[in-house]
């Protein structure tokens, strides 16, 4: 099957496109898709860094099964926020 994959932010720039059609075998999981995407776009992320995938607007797990027609997006790290030492019990930082 062929999956339509969207890229955002850092991944969009590194892939050089916003969407890509990625062929994977039937029954593929998020983990399988990530392997296929890395083969197509080896410069997307270093191999030792995990790539987060959203499936139908929810964060996917590596074992999440994919189907043709799923809305699939690769999600670079969001700003996260550094823990403030002064407010350790309720950490955060301004976006």
């Amino acid at each position: 099957m062929e999956l339509s994959v969207r890229f955002f932010a850092l991944y969009r720039e590194r892939a050089g496109c916003s969407t890509a059609q990625v062929p994977v075998p039937e029954g593929s999981t998020v983990a399988d898709l990530v392997v296929a995407v890395r083969e197509l776009y080896p410069r997307l992320a270093p191999p030792d860094v995990s790539i987060v995938v959203a499936v139908n607007e929810e964060y996917g797990e590596p074992e999440t099964l994919l189907q043709a027609g799923d809305e699939i997006c690769l999600i670079p790290p969001v700003s996260g926020g550094q823990a403030s030492q002064a407010l350790n019990s309720c950490s955060g930082s301004e976006r």
Binding site: A9, D48, V49, P77, S79, S91, G92
Partner: protein, 159 residues
């Protein structure tokens, strides 16, 4: 404006969000403003750019609002996030929370901002004199220690 969760290219007016959560049953309104800072790790930032996966960002912001309701009993929450180019000193985020008493409003507002930064797919890029940088993506830098020769020229992507 009547939508209580907004992702927009336009300037954010905090008062609009505050008005959305004010009610006679509430005795406290806490409003957080995230404003764009002019420095990052000692470098001068010229401007910022935000990018969102909007469909999912709306869904995640709504989830946060529901969590505040179920966990803290806070009913009135309004959130605005700006995307696109944002100049230094402008407002990129507004979180307004109202509740009958102040403790819940302070706490829920703080929690909303923290959760937002961890789960909502919105990215920030900082532009410097002669450079740019996606915030929080530092672990994605390619280094010589990684054995993928074809990736080693990737820094050109960021030029």
């Amino acid at each position: 404006m009547s939508e209580t969760i907004v992702i927009t290219h336009h300037e954010l007016n905090p008062e609009e969000f505050t008005d959305l959560v004010r009610r006679d049953t509430n005795g406290a309104v806490v409003t957080f403003l995230g404003t764009t800072r002019d420095t990052f790790e000692g470098r001068n930032v010229i401007r910022l750019e935000y990018e969102a996966y909007e469909e999912m960002a709306y869904r995640k912001l709504e989830e946060i609002r529901q969590e505040l309701k179920s966990e803290f009993g806070v009913e009135d929450v309004a959130i605005g996030h700006r995307i696109g180019v944002v100049d230094i000193g402008e407002i990129s985020l507004v979180v307004a929370v109202a509740s009958p008493h102040r403790s819940e409003a302070f706490y829920a507002c703080h929690e909303a901002v923290n959760r937002l930064k961890h789960s909502v797919p919105i990215w920030k890029k900082e532009f410097y004199e002669g450079g740019e940088h996606w915030v929080a993506c530092e672990d994605h830098e390619f280094t010589g220690s990684v054995e993928t020769p074809e990736t080693l020229t990737v820094s050109a992507d960021n030029a």
